[in-house]
Symmetry: C2
Subunit: 226 residues, 2 copies
């Protein structure tokens, strides 16, 4: 069986888990704390980063884009990228919006300050969260939610008529910070309705039972009606 | 004719230019300073980032990965990604090594401190370079050059027998900081020999005549024998 080495609240690993669920594929999940892995993940991925996907053929695929493109290329019936080159480019543009821009401005700082720093020693940069970084990231979420509203307002999915990697990337980042209770859902009904459609899909269910030691999820995290 | 909106020393834009050269495709180059674009690039790419490729069909493709995958999918005879899914995953892993890890640790800080900050107002964070960031980035280049040596030692290209996007990504980042004179070539003969093979390809030539106003390239930048 294939396996996926991941950290449950890492948005990049979450995107792969969502994709596997959408494809109806399964993989043994092996959880690692990226800041203190119990196995030598560098032996599999010299960059030392997650996700790492080990296919049933024993091929080792490293990094979210390589894994998602690999799964799309090798899974029978896969279609998380649209049919035309232009539409695929639009889905990839939005994936990069979330993985680069949203992660850089919002989910990266929030996850680092609220989770990673709890687990690091002070020599590693651990300790209490830097509140000014949290305030800045929390303020910067709003233009992103406006942008998702605009994309979701067309009635389909973020990159067009069909569910795509763009939706999974967005949901991966939003769900990770929703665990922390950092999304003002009530102010963004279009985003909430799009997210509700995703959250009720079977692929989403495993993510809703995730829990990080010592840091329970926000009360509404697992509720489909939030 | 297609056009490419780019900044000459941006490694991501450089990768697209190298790919166009390898495909034998041409595009009108429109240079913009990412920190102060003269046109409304946000109207084309809401993220406001470069590169932006406008195809002859007028399709607008934004972001380096979307552009490179689009070109690979739509250019007759394109083969900057290898034939098997596993080999493509290896090329994409290495692209991410350079675009995420190398850029985060080395080329991003060096280009920001030595170039971008010269052009920003003090309110935008401009001014003299932060020397501790330059020292840190300069120290962190060494393990990367060791890793490239190891990959190049197999005699082929970085991701295998054939030239791929992995080589272009690596060369895009290295060439941008070579402009600044920041690579200790003499200590890394295997990297130098691999880079020399790339640098002598016709696709590389346009990059060697780039010049940023007020900041001439390092003396050896354009020399094939450096």
């Amino acid at each position: 069986m294939a396996s996926l080495i991941h950290f449950s609240l890492d948005p990049f690993c979450r995107r792969v888990r969502l994709a596997l669920g959408e494809y109806g594929s399964s993989a043994d999940l092996i959880e690692e704390f990226p800041w203190d892995p119990s196995h030598d993940i560098c032996a599999l991925n010299p960059a030392g980063t997650l996700p790492i996907y080990v296919a049933t053929s024993a091929a080792v695929i490293c990094g979210v884009d390589a894994v998602n493109e690999y799964l799309e290329e090798t899974t029978a019936g896969a279609k998380l990228l649209p049919g035309s080159a232009e539409a695929r480019a639009e889905a990839r543009r939005l994936v990069s919006w979330f993985d680069d821009k949203f992660y850089g401005e919002v989910s990266g700082p929030l996850l680092t300050e609220k989770i990673t720093r709890r687990f690091l020693t002070s020599a590693q940069g651990g300790g209490g969260p830097e509140m000014h970084r949290i305030r800045l990231a929390t303020a910067r979420i709003k233009p992103h939610l406006d942008y998702i509203s605009q994309l979701a307002d067309k009635g389909g999915w973020l990159a067009g008529e069909a569910l795509s990697l763009a939706d999974l990337a967005a949901a991966a980042h939003l769900s990770a910070i929703d665990y922390l209770g950092d999304i003002p859902w009530a102010d963004y009904p279009l985003v909430k309705s799009w997210y509700q459609r995703l959250k009720s899909r079977p692929s989403f269910r495993p993510l809703l039972s995730d829990a990080v030691r010592g840091l329970p999820p926000s009360p509404h995290y697992a509720n489909l009606d939030f």
